[in-house]
Symmetry: C2
Subunit: 428 residues, 2 copies
């Protein structure tokens, strides 16, 4: 991933590989006003260390954001401010995982979590997903199997809403069942929810945290996608004993998060502009998603299937089995376009025919052109395969996705077989 990001930094490359918000959507004059206010009212405070758990005023802003997602009973004291959402994943691993411990994740999972799991030598077991998110029935089978083996997972890591990279959202029945399973088995769940407020269509669903009441669910939030990624402010809400451990881990990790960044959040939220800014992000990303879906239909139509996210930043496309997207990326880069190969989202080498495509950080014209270039290299591979094998170019066994964006959860395109089919089993 790191090398990929370096390659895609070249200006001629259209990168659908990133996970960037578009920060040009944030008005520079608001930035000027907020920072001027900090300098006038709180210069020394912005430049000074703060408490490890975060400044009180940013914790109040966080409580506002959580209330906007239906979590109304959060006290500022329950919130641990972190250096981005990434630090929450890292601190949870650091706090809970000893080498060889089982961690449950989705298949595919967030590529940025993979090095955290690896860093603490977790044995990651990945659970298949379909259009309704994580297959909780498969989770239960896996938990039964692990129990027979005398192994107790430290936690279940999930992104229920607008999944990165899969682009799907966990249905309400699955959410309810997952929370029940957690309670029945006294199993911690880490709910990673960076994108929940970026819903373009459909009705919001309750978070796992609100269904559980915070007993077994550790909640991860971040300002990265609703305000700014560059300020590095995220947060965790965790059951008391876990909260204390995370806080101690955070102090060892970086003492405290940037006070300047925290005051940026707090001051901005006092301006009351954030809801309006959120609409701006959603409008831009929704249009870009639509452009990407249209371009996929136009340029990859017969050769791929893909998910149709109702929000967030990403979708997941799967090519015929005989195309390896890691190899394909090398050819794509020759055509100055990039994506994240599916294998980055698995710990066991699966995902080889899939790719993650980002639509939030790229202008509409570039999205169309990028997908066109990917379509061209895919067609070359399909034709080469056809020539070599004498078979038809289009993978007849696959259903074509419905071309029109859908409004309801039920119509989300199923994840490709390979991601949603057989039992996921992680490797250390």
């Amino acid at each position: 991933m790191r090398d990929l990001m370096a390659l895609t930094a070249q200006p001629q490359v259209i990168s659908l590989a990133g996970g960037l918000p578009d920060m040009t959507v944030f008005p520079p004059e608001v930035m000027a006003k907020v920072t001027a206010q900090i300098a006038a009212e709180a210069s020394a405070r912005a430049l000074q260390y703060g408490p490890t758990e975060g400044l009180d005023d940013v914790r109040e802003a966080i409580a506002q954001v959580m209330a906007a997602e239906g979590m109304t009973a959060i006290e500022p004291d329950d919130i641990l401010v972190t250096t981005g959402g990434q630090q929450v994943i890292d601190l949870v691993c650091r706090t809970l995982v000893d080498p060889g411990d089982v961690v449950i994740a989705e298949a595919p999972t967030y590529p940025g979590a993979v090095p955290c799991f690896g860093s603490f030598e977790a044995d990651v077991v990945q659970i298949a997903m379909d259009a309704d998110g994580m297959r909780v029935d498969e989770l239960e089978e896996t938990l039964d199997r692990l129990e027979r083996e005398g192994r107790r997972p430290k936690f279940v890591y999930t992104i229920p809403t607008f999944h990165n990279p899969a682009g799907v959202t966990m249905s309400l029945p699955r959410r309810r069942r997952l929370v029940e399973v957690a309670r029945e088995r006294e199993l911690l769940v880490l709910e990673d929810n960076p994108y929940g407020l970026l819903r373009f269509e459909g009705e919001p669903l309750p978070t796992l945290y609100s269904l559980d009441g915070g007993e077994f669910v550790i909640y991860l939030g971040t300002f990265s996608k609703i305000l700014s990624a560059g300020i590095r402010v995220g947060w965790a809400v965790a059951p008391g004993p876990v909260f204390q451990k995370l806080n101690i881990g955070k102090q060892a990790a970086d003492l405290c998060s940037s006070s300047l960044s925290q005051l940026f959040v707090a001051t901005y939220f006092r301006s009351g502009l954030w809801a309006e800014q959120l609409e701006r992000f959603k409008e831009v990303y929704r249009r870009r998603r639509d452009v990407m879906l249209g371009a996929l239909e136009e340029f990859l139509g017969p050769h791929a299937e893909w998910t149709r996210p109702q929000g967030g930043l990403f979708l997941w496309a799967t090519l015929p089995d005989y195309i390896d997207t890691t190899d394909l990326l090398a050819r794509a880069l020759e055509s100055d376009v990039a994506f994240v190969p599916g294998r980055a989202a698995y710990l066991d080498g699966r995902g080889g025919s899939s790719m993650r495509l980002n639509f939030s950080g790229v202008a509409e014209d570039d999205i169309r052109e990028g997908v066109r270039r990917i379509g061209r290299v895919v067609r070359e591979q399909v034709e080469l395969y056809g020539t070599l094998t004498g078979s038809a170019a289009a993978p007849a066994e696959r259903d074509r996705p419905d071309p029109a964006p859908q409004e309801s959860m039920a119509d989300v395109v199923p994840l490709p077989r390979r991601a949603g089919g057989d039992r996921a089993r992680g490797t250390r």
Copy 2:
């Protein structure tokens, strides 16, 4: 330490326990100017993710700072920007230490490093210090012993200049010998240098990094004490293979450091004001150190000895053996004054009669009053001991420190016996 910091946050408490720079010394109008420039010229960039290794312009500012400490051959590409200096210690542990591995540290060592070492289950062996810093002869004996036991330390952690908490500075011969030892034994050294530029008197000494040329020395720098602690920007310079590992670890830990903070540094450094600001900090801290030394003489004179730092933020005071500073702190807090008990700087329970006192973050009057209060509770303990034992109140076996601040390294007051005496041996 965390609980202590919470107690000392109460406004009536004079806290000599912190490690805070005084950010009121930084002009708010400069803060306003710098942030206005960022908003006008680089708003979207400040709010966007940056590369894991840091923004190029802040790496150039860092190269300037290192040049000011005599390290002129640093390329911006050699620099890894981190979320404060703390993150460097954490990443080095994370990258190099497996449970049970030996790490060498000074006795006493930086209290904030202790939870990092603990978090990665390092077996910390602490090497005694005296007025010339770490006893490198004792280090060599310890390395010999460990070699006989078949154990190879992962690295040596040292703060050679204005040590936190000891307040002493490693002499040039010791520096040269330490670097020789590292090279002879192919041993990594982590040089933690947050305070080097805060020299009030005496001639600057070369860093270990410059003596070594960066082959075995990992360098840790930070803007926390020369610009702002609240922006959380530090850095590491490390030999190539270590650099790559640290960078990968950093990506897992928090993806990248705040772009807003990094642009704050870069923009500020382009203004050319930093050298002048550094003088301002030094002037304020030098006066505060002098007030603290005077107050110690006045209020603790016969009952304690203390180091006489030529720069930095801290000094280290040691009371008679029969006074336990952890117990004393409870009494001190009743008198609304706080310090860091010496045990926080050891992993093996030593340091029980010592305390760390900070002079950078407290106004002159408060320093004097704080030391007066500490003096009062100490006298009570001394008198109680005298009553109970019938012995003389003053610890006759100890040399009294020279009352006048000294200019030369040779005159630095020796560390108390208990810190500089017997073989340091860490516990896991």
